[in-house]
Amino acid sequence: MISVQQQDFNQQVEHERLRCQSSIGAIVTFTGLVRDINDGQAVSDLSLEHYPGMTEKCLVDIVEKAKARWHIIASTVIHRVGQLSVTDQIVFVGIASQHRGDAFAACEFIMDYLKTEAPFWKKETMENGQTKWVDARESDQKTLSKWAE
């Protein structure tokens, strides 16, 4: 399941959706939250822009790449767009597999690629009212090297 949506999501509901087969032994989930501080500045709100159409294609493509490398029984990627506040959920990646090694690796792989390839952009509103587009982190690019085959 892949969804780009404004509304929030519920962990229990998403977990039950992933528990679709009795052969599943491991479920790993990642959830990204809006932090109160970024680059040393106090953040109050976040606005998320995306490229409709390309976003969904890109997420499908990343999940397919993961399925080619690891045994995945079910997967979910949810990314929210629009206006968010501090502590809000931004993104959810859930992987259900027979064994935990596959679930951990696939979940982290999808997040690492989502961070560097999926066309989303964050704009922060600081507590002083100023707005600022978030800069891409070089460290996110470097992280990809661990997935080189």
Binding site: G32, Y51, L114, W121, K122, W133, A136
Partner: protein, 82 residues
């Protein structure tokens, strides 16, 4: 016509979210980029002063790509989702 899209900081700076360009003006993405740098007075410095990614028909490309009428080309800053 070729549809050109801009996103995020780049679209704010350029003051445009999308525009249509005659296919005859842009045989490939290098020509299209050249055309855009001359579209308005300040666009050259905006487009050349920062890292700028491009996607053709919603797939990221790093090299020069031939274009035809109906193609969709997007320019945007490095992504910051997740």
């Amino acid at each position: 016509m070729i549809t050109v899209l801009f996103f995020a900081k780049l679209s704010e700076q350029l003051g445009e979210r999308s525009l249509q360009v005659e296919a005859s003006q842009a045989a490939d993405t290098d020509q299209l980029f050249q055309y855009l740098t001359q579209y308005k007075a300040e666009w050259s410095s905006i487009l050349n002063s920062q890292p700028c990614l491009k996607a053709v028909n919603q797939a990221m490309v790093n090299t020069n790509v031939t274009l035809k009428s109906g193609d969709e080309v997007a320019y945007f800053p490095p992504v910051t989702g997740g």
